[in-house]
């Protein structure tokens, strides 16, 4: 199956200011692709290039098989888009906006649109300027999903939504994927999207630093293991094991960060007569944050 999005060496500069540099990713069709990174990393810039809003400085983008800059109108018919900083016309009501955008998309069957409005509890009868951020976001979601697009490009989609609506949004995404559609969603929070995404890319300072599946990321994430012993323990016996870091050590207690198999750790522990062992689950968020910390260290 043709990938939904293929970005090759995609670069965007704003005068002398960095946008993104050499972004290369392939988004498989029919799944949920997470595009993760801290604020200002280049997520929205990449998304605007995918939507044909920005002209690339270098590199290429293929979205649903076509260049979004040269063939934008044709492919945008097949895309649903939720901007990161959603702004709606403040004096219009939600109903006016939804009706006008449905008409502009030549949407004939309004049943699914009305279903979405009801399901999300979108407030359509008040002017947008009187709505909360969450209520505006609901209208944005209706606009993105209402024409059942082949590709959904959602920039920070759960921003402003309460936990119940975040669950509803997750269900909506899962239903879309079950119908064979592709979802490209950005977030700065892995926790928020890890239950949804099948594969992901992490962007930092305009460059891709990791492309993986959630399982792949999980397998690379360190476990934290705490061992207690009847007598004293020699930290060096653990420090020399591959993939093992000694986090802390005291008389009769040692805390380790372990990547990969725990077998060698347990074997090394036996001579010191262990009395208790505690292993915390894989800390995916910690791994994700480590990409950001590298950025902070680099910035100093």
């Amino acid at each position: 199956m043709q990938p939904a999005v293929v970005l090759t060496g995609l670069t965007k500069q704003f005068g002398g200011v960095r946008g993104i540099t050499g972004v290369t990713i392939e988004v498989p069709a029919g799944g949920v692709f997470g595009f993760l990174g801290p604020n200002g990393a280049g997520k929205s810039t990449t998304i605007r290039l995918i939507m044909g809003l920005y002209r690339p400085t270098a590199g290429s983008a293929l979205v649903l098989g076509a260049d979004p800059w040269d063939h934008g109108a044709e492919i945008r018919r097949r895309i649903g888009y939720l901007p990161g900083e959603l702004a709606l016309f403040p004096r219009l009501t939600g109903r006016e906006i939804v009706d006008r955008f449905a008409a502009a998309r030549r949407l004939v069957d309004l049943g699914y649109r009305d279903h979405l409005v009801h399901r999300l509890g979108a407030e359509l009868d008040r002017p947008v300027k009187a709505l909360s951020k969450g209520n505006r976001q609901k209208i944005g979601l209706v606009l993105a999903f209402m024409h059942r697009p082949e590709l959904l490009v959602l920039d920070e989609p759960t921003s402003g939504l309460d936990p119940l609506l975040q669950d509803e949004f997750a269900a909506l995404v899962e239903e879309s994927v079950a119908e064979g559609r592709t979802v490209f969603l950005s977030s700065h929070d892995l926790d928020e999207v890890q239950r949804l995404v099948h594969s992901l890319a992490i962007v930092r300072e305009g460059r891709i630093v990791a492309v993986d599946t959630v399982e792949g990321l999980r397998s690379r994430a360190p476990r934290r293991i705490e061992l207690r012993f009847a007598g004293s323990v020699e930290p060096g016996a653990f420090a020399r094991l591959p993939g093992v870091d000694v986090v802390s050590a005291a008389a009769g207690r040692i805390v380790l960060s372990v990547r990969g198999s725990v077998g060698p750790v347990l074997a090394a522990a036996v001579p010191f007569e262990p009395v208790d062992v505690t292993a915390r689950p894989v800390d995916l968020d910690e791994l994700f944050r480590s990409f950001y910390r590298e950025e902070e260290v680099g910035a100093r």
Binding site: L53, G72, A73, I79, A87, L92, R100, A104, L143
Partner: protein
Amino acid sequence: MRGDVARLDLRLRRRSIIWYTVGLGAYAFLIVGLYPAFKSDDSLDALTRGNATLSALFGATGSLTSPDGWLNANIYANFLPLFVLLTTIGYGAEAVAGQDESNVLGLVATLPVRRRDILLEKAAALVVLALPIALVTMAFVVVGRAFELRLALGPVTGVTAGVVLLGVDFGLLALVVGVASGNRGRALGVAGGVAAASYVISSLAPVVGWVRPLRFASLFFYSVGNGQLVRGLSVTALVVLVAVAVVLASLATVAFERSDVH
């Protein structure tokens, strides 16, 4: 191009265009209704005879008590173009640059509509916005025949078309500057400044020798500054005003097709 973008923008400007039209319509009715009280006032004509330059700055030339002099001095040479320009320059600056600054253009630009069509629909909305004020004013001027303001319908129609095209031209100038710079304030400033200079040149041309040759560079000269209320809009003037609109719309389209939208 099905007009969705144009209709959206017209909806967004609906309130302001209604109030501008009501305001200038009321003013035009007042001016028309007052004419019988002033048509025999010799002191008004003495004003233009005694201080031609000052009178010219306000767009008044010749007799102020003739029907065309009265309407030129009070409506066609100043207030009507001013109101039309406020409307069209305001929209021209807002249509792309202003909407981009307030982040609403991104939603429109991600509809399945070509950039060229978005721009052309905005240009069409600009033309529509220039019409109500000019047409309502024309309607009251025609009503003015009942108040002894007897002017031929042809020239009144011609000058109305001239004012509409003047507004469209300067609105498109604001649109071009807005698209090219992405800055609403700059679009307002440049288009407003050029319009003011154009007005001064056209107004002073009849009384200041060295300004006279410059009148051909003034769009006011082609629309309201050359006796159009009596002689009508010449073919040359019509061609110039339309040609300027076509060139500016083309420039705006090319610039918009190349520009980033946020």
